[in-house]
Amino acid sequence: MGLIAKTKAIWAGRKGPSLLQPWYNVAKLLRKSEVHSHTAGFIFRVAPSLALAATLMAAMLVPFGASSAVFSFRGDFLIFMYLLALSKGIMVLAAMEVGSSFEGMGASREISFTAFLEPAFFLTIGSMVYAGGFESMGDLFLRHTVVLSNHWSVIIAVMTSIALFIMLLVEGARVPFDDPATHLELTMIHEVMVLDTSGVNLAMVHYGAALKMQIFASLISYFLIPEGHSPLAITAIYLLVTTTLAILVGWVESLMPRYRMNRNLELVVIPLSVSLLALAALIVRNLGGI
């Protein structure tokens, strides 16, 4: 997160905040007290904790290098997908609880994205299952190797990475789908949803959002890391890929304007179609190529 802001600032010719700024923000918010809206009910109180716990659990399912994830079993990607959906759904309910029109707007936009992201993630995983067999997420990502000499393999790797990268942008609420830094509530999605969240709750929301981006970045990097390297090499590649991704996000943010809100959903379909393409490429490869 910090790196993204830095990249953006450098690109804009400024010096930019410190790399640890997001941590400072969280630490500051932890010390603040909370203000709840009069209309807020019980969901509003528990939602940030639940959402954070769900995201953390999802993070535990992400494979780590050569060793598998903290928890790993056949079909664990489904619970991963649903935990992320849960964290999103509960935040949406909390936002609607306040009953302000801004938050309703954000909630409505945010949850509409899930409708297209879920099939996209399912298909991305599906393409890996197709290639690597019906296994756990860790095995799937681990087994995938990119053979640079085989053009099919490269095409598939690139397409899957693109699909995951766009999911990262959407889930992490970044430009071009959402702009966390605008000054008008009408133009935000994720940030406007948490308008009335404050103090510790807000800290949890920010931390959860950053964690989500980290999860997707890790998925991409493990996807690209080939099998059978030493732990040191894997860590190095991992750091390299995540750093590149962060810089990439910042770069995208500086170069692209946010899309128009009502066109946004059409663009969220992109990962869906890209993952379909990847699957098609896989099938074609298996049938012997064109």
Binding site: L83, E97, S108, L265
Partner: protein, 639 residues
């Protein structure tokens, strides 16, 4: 043992006629316990009961078979009925009307007939039971018979059920011609007969394109009945479909047709649930979606059997059965809770509700759990069954079989889309009805009614939560069915193993969330303040997001699939006084194909109308003409 159960039910009818609702509820509970014992014996101690019943006259003897499939459905009914009646007891107290006696009488008949069609394997008796079920539920719906909507919807329901019954009758007739016997246990269904039976059962279950009665009949029935109909009665249709599927063989193309139908059912159901702003109608649409999901599981079961992929078959079948169980728990719960909302506010239109979570906190909390269950969020039970079906779809993704891979891609993508839409539809329903501030004065004065009204939802919520965390528990019900469904028991055992790991994760998740929440409670002080209005100081309940606005981004996308009509009055003059806007989403089946069919039928019947002119002399002329034609025909034939 089964006999004792039925006898208690018949005693319950007597108490119904004496208007003793409390005694009736107790007797229903007692009968269910006895029957559940009989079913449990079959499920866990093995073996199946086979009896033969002598029928009077030329009908011969009827087979009565209690196999694991009947027992599974029977257990579902035996759990669902008493819980439904506990709710019904308090609901009827809160909402008294004339004719409690007849209402209870028909409820008892409905329960008896539903239990009995599970074990009857004789087409004559089966049709009697089936008709009894349709008729008794029709009369039970008519509890609020003063309202025009109730009457017309109930008649619609009755007609649809009889069209379905006609298909069943045809199917059974064909089977009788093939086998020369009314008993059909152990007979393999073939040819047109299996399709006719499937269509007949699809009417009851609510598959595309026969589902249009659900969103009409469920909302008008009294809440306990709509819960029981939606959660339990449509399962008799699914029971029939599973029975037909298990006792016949299918080709690839036929199964793909079934898959397509299930997909359309699920998709249509959910987009209408999304667009609907009437709470109970939205729930009824979501029943259609869930039936579609069960259908997807069943078609992957058949697909797996055909392509000899035992994992896919086992996962598909157990997913479908688990979803059957789960849906029979969370759907009645949501219907009962919406009954509470109806009693408290006298309205189910989402746009007049709002802010109920401060006024009815317990109902709101339970509804929240129901929302989580129905949108298949982890921790609740809906997730377990969708998980199994997703796994079944994924197990078809392999390099050797391109057919099932492509089916899997299409089904998986649409299924994931549908389950995301379910989350949206129910977060909309919950947040518009229970969150924010109130939208009308009746919602403003709402308060929690009798605590008795919460007993049944709490019981169901506990069951949902239990089956959600310990997913394996549901498998104990499904496991005895492996022989009947022709699937590999080992695949189910390995699913159980996966579900064990899942429960570990979910338990950790729950502890985690609790710890985080408690820590947070210690950390910060909380004060109250108004919501952020972006500088606007007088926020109003009308400014909240409505249900229609909430789904607008998606509605824009799904426009071609939602048949919408709107009516608005344009602003006129310099000082416009009135502005109205009405919008309605129609089902294209109901207002399209069916309307067209009825029109055609009417036209044909109108032709006869002209003959029917009421003049005696013209009738005599018809008679004379008919006589002459007959005479010519007879003479011509005899030559």
């Amino acid at each position: 043992m089964i006999g004792i159960g039925y006898i208690i039910f018949i005693i319950a009818i007597l108490s119904a006629l004496a208007r003793k609702a409390g005694l009736f509820t107790i007797l229903v509970g007692l009968a269910s316990v006895v029957l559940a014992g009989a079913y449990a014996k079959v499920l866990w101690l093995g073996g199946s009961g086979v009896w033969s019943l002598e029928l009077p006259g030329l009908m011969g003897s009827a087979d009565i078979v209690l196999d694991p499939l009947s027992a599974l459905l029977g257990v579902i009914f035996a759990v669902g009925f008493p819980i439904g009646m506990i709710y019904g007891y308090y609901y009827l107290k809160e909402h008294p009307q004339l004719g409690v006696a007849s209402h209870l009488f028909f409820l008892a008949l409905m329960m008896i007939s539903m239990h009995s069609i599970l074990i009857i394997r004789n087409s004559l008796l089966f049709m009697v039971g089936w008709e009894l079920m349709s008729l008794s539920s029709f009369f039970a719906i008519l509890y609020d018979r003063d309202s025009q909507e109730t009457v017309s919807s109930a008649i619609y329901y009755l007609i649809m059920m009889h069209i379905g019954a006609a298909f069943l009758l045809l199917g059974f007739g064909l089977i009788y011609r093939q086998s020369g016997n009314f008993n059909y246990s152990g007979i393999e269904f073939q040819g047109a007969a299996k399709w006719l039976l499937l269509i007949g059962f699809a009417f009851k279950a609510g598959f595309f394109p026969f589902y249009s009665w659900l969103p009409k009949a469920h909302p008008v029935a009294p809440s306990h009945l709509s819960g029981m109909m939606s959660g339990l009665m449509i399962k008799t249709g699914v029971f029939g479909i599973v029975y037909v599927l298990a006792n016949s063989s299918w080709t690839m193309v036929e199964v793909l047709v079934l898959t397509g139908v299930s997909l359309i059912t699920a998709f249509n159901g959910i987009i209408h649930a999304l667009a609907e702003s009437h709470l109970k109608r939205s729930l009824a649409w979501s029943s259609i979606e869930n039936i579609g999901i069960i259908g997807i599981g069943l078609s992957f079961w058949q697909l797996g059997l055909i392509s000899s992929n035992s994992t896919m078959a086992a996962l598909g079948f157990s997913g479908a059965m688990l979803h059957l169980i789960n849906h029979s728990l969370f759907k009645p719960m949501l219907f009962y809770l919406s009954g509470n909302v109806l009693l408290a506010t006298h309205s189910l239109d989402l746009n007049t509700l709002g802010g109920l979570d401060k006024r009815m906190p317990r109902t709101a909390a339970l509804f929240f759990l129901g929302t989580m269950a129905i949108s298949a969020m982890p921790v609740m039970n809906g997730f377990i069954s969708e998980f199994a079906i997703f796994l079944s779809v994924l197990s078809g993704f392999n390099a050797s079989d391109i057919g099932s891979t492509i089916t899997g891609i299409v089904v998986g993508a649409i299924f994931a889309f549908v389950s995301a839409l379910a989350l949206i539809a129910f977060s909309k329903a919950y947040s518009v009805a229970f969150s924010g501030s109130t939208r009308s004065s009746s919602a403003d004065h709402a308060s929690e009614r009798r605590t008795g009204l919460l007993i049944s939802p709490i019981l169901l919520a506990c069951l949902c939560l239990g089956l959600g965390i310990f997913g394996r528990a549901g498998l104990y019900l499904v496991y005895p069915l492996t022989g009947l469904a022709g699937i590999d028991p080992n695949a189910i055992l390995s699913l159980g193993h996966t579900l064990d790991q899942l429960s570990v994760i979910l338990l950790i998740f729950i502890t985690f969330a609790t710890v985080v929440y408690l820590l947070k409670r210690r950390l910060g002080k909380v004060s109250k303040g108004p919501a952020w209005g972006c500088g606007y100081h007088r926020p109003d309940a009308k400014m909240q997001y409505t249900g229609t606005a909430f789904i607008d981004p998606l509605a824009y996308f799904l426009k071609p699939l939602m048949h919408k009509s709107s009516d608005k009055s344009v602003l006129t003059g310099y000082f416009p006084q009135e502005l109205s806007y009405e919008e309605e989403v129609h089902d294209y089946l109901d207002s399209g194909i069916f309307a067209w069919l009825t029109k055609g039928l009417r036209w044909i019947l109108d032709l006869f109308d002209r003959i029917h002119n009421g003049k005696i002399n013209s009738y005599i002329t018809y008679l004379l003409g008919a006589l002459i034609i007959l005479l010519i025909w007879v003479l011509g034939v005899s030559k």
